[in-house]
Symmetry: C3
Subunit: 185 residues, 3 copies
Amino acid sequence: MQSTAFFSARHLPSAAPPVRVRAVFTNPSTATDGNNSMAASSGPKWAQKTITLPPQRRGCHLVTSKIMKEIGPDLSEFKCGLAHLFLHHTSASLTINENYDSDVRSDTETFLNKIVPEGRSAPWTHTLEGPDDMPAHIKSSMFGCSLTIPITNGKLNMGTWQGIWLCEHRDSPTPRTVVITLNGI
Amino acid sequence: MQSTAFFSARHLPSAAPPVRVRAVFTNPSTATDGNNSMAASSGPKWAQKTITLPPQRRGCHLVTSKIMKEIGPDLSEFKCGLAHLFLHHTSASLTINENYDSDVRSDTETFLNKIVPEGRSAPWTHTLEGPDDMPAHIKSSMFGCSLTIPITNGKLNMGTWQGIWLCEHRDSPTPRTVVITLNGI
Amino acid sequence: MQSTAFFSARHLPSAAPPVRVRAVFTNPSTATDGNNSMAASSGPKWAQKTITLPPQRRGCHLVTSKIMKEIGPDLSEFKCGLAHLFLHHTSASLTINENYDSDVRSDTETFLNKIVPEGRSAPWTHTLEGPDDMPAHIKSSMFGCSLTIPITNGKLNMGTWQGIWLCEHRDSPTPRTVVITLNGI
C-alpha cells in the first residue's frame, strides 16, 4: 500500500501540464482515479488484425459494416485512439465517402473510368496484365490504399454521412486483404 | 523510496535495446533520468478535440493558423508524436500544399472544376442535392478527408512552404467539423 | 520485492478486458509474462528521424530500399506499430504502388502529365516559378505527401507487390526531406 500510494503521489506533479488541458487530454496519468492499477489498465494498447474482404465486382463498395463486424469488439476497448486500415493491394483503394445513396458510388466509378483511359485509347506501356490493370494502379494511387480514423469512446468517430469504401479497380473480383491496426487508451 | 528505487532498477535492463538507437528513439524508459515520476510524465499521451472551422466559400483555403489556435497549447505538451486531423464531411477535403501564394489555391480550384464535370455536361445520376454535390463527393475522395502530421518539440513538423488547406467543394458555405487527435510523448 | 509483486498483482485484473481479445491485442500488460520489467520493455516506443532522399529526375521512383536502409534497424525494435512518412515538400508526393514493373511508374507519370495541363495550354495564374511548378503542386495534393504503413514483427507490413514511391513533379531534381515517425511496442 505504502509503495502504491507513494507511486501515485509521484505521478501527480508530473501530470500537472496535461491537466491544464484536461478536457482534451486523456493519458495514463490523467485518466486514472489515482489508483495505480487503474492507470495501468488505461495505458496505451495496440491491436493488429489482418482481415479479408470478400471479392467484389469492379466499382465502389460500402464496407463499413464488414469492417465493424471484424473490429467492433476490439474497438470497444479504446476510449480514445486511432484506427488504421491498410489495403495490401495496388489495384484497389480505400476511401471515405457518402454512406447513403449508392448512386454516389456508381457516379464515382463513372468518374474514375472517365479520367483514366482504358483499352485502345489508352497510352499505357504496361498492358501485360490486361487493359484494366494499369488504370487500376493509377486509381489506387489517386484514392490511396490506407485510412486513419479517430476512435472515441469505443467507436469509429466518423461524420453522420461518412462510410468506408473499398474501390475495386480490376475487372475480375478477388478477395482483398486489409491490415487493421488499433492504437489508443 | 525503496520500492520506487527498486522499480527504476527493474526498468534499466529492459531499456537496453532502445538505447542502441538512442539518437532516434524516445520512449518512457529512455526519456527518463531514472526518476520514476519523470518517466511517467514523459509517457505516452493522447489528446482528442473536436473543432469547427468557420464557413468558407467554395475553393481552397489555408487554415493552418486556425488549426494552430485550437491545438497550439496542447501540441506544446508533446516532444515527439503525430497529429491526426479528420474532417467529418464528404463534400470537402483536407490537404497539405503551398502556404504562400494564394494563386496556388485558386489554380487548384480551377483544376478540380476542370476535371470533375458539373451541370449539363456532367454524367452524374446523383443530382438530388444540387449540381455541385456529386462533384464535391468526388473531389473529397481525390484529396482525402484526413491528414497525419509529425509533431517535433511541441510543434507541427512541416516543411517551410507547407500549410494545411481546407478545400470547400460545395457552393453554399457551411461550418466544417474536424476531429483532431494528438498522440506522442 | 513485496511492492513489485504487489504491483504485478494489481496489473492482472486490470488486464482482463484486453485478454478477451488476446489474439489481436498486444499491450504492456498482456504482452508481459507477468514480470514487471518485461512489461516495461514491451511498452510503447517512439522513434523519429529526418532523412534526405537524393535528387531524382521528374517522374515516379521506387524508394522502398532507400527508406529501409534508413529505418531497418529501428523497425526491428517494434513487434507491432505504425510507420509514418511525411514529405516536407509541396511539389513532390509519396504513394504506395507496384514494386515490380518500371512501366507502371512511367505510365503513372504519363497519366499525371495528361490530366494536369502544363505550358501554353494551361490555365494557371501561378507561373512565376516555372511552367512545371503549378502542375507539381496539384499532383502533390492528388497523391499526397504522407504515408502510414503498419509494422508487424519488426518489418513494414505491405503486400507482396507494394512499394514506396517518391514522385518528383518538378523538372529540376532536388533532394527531398522525409520525416519518419515510428510508434509501437
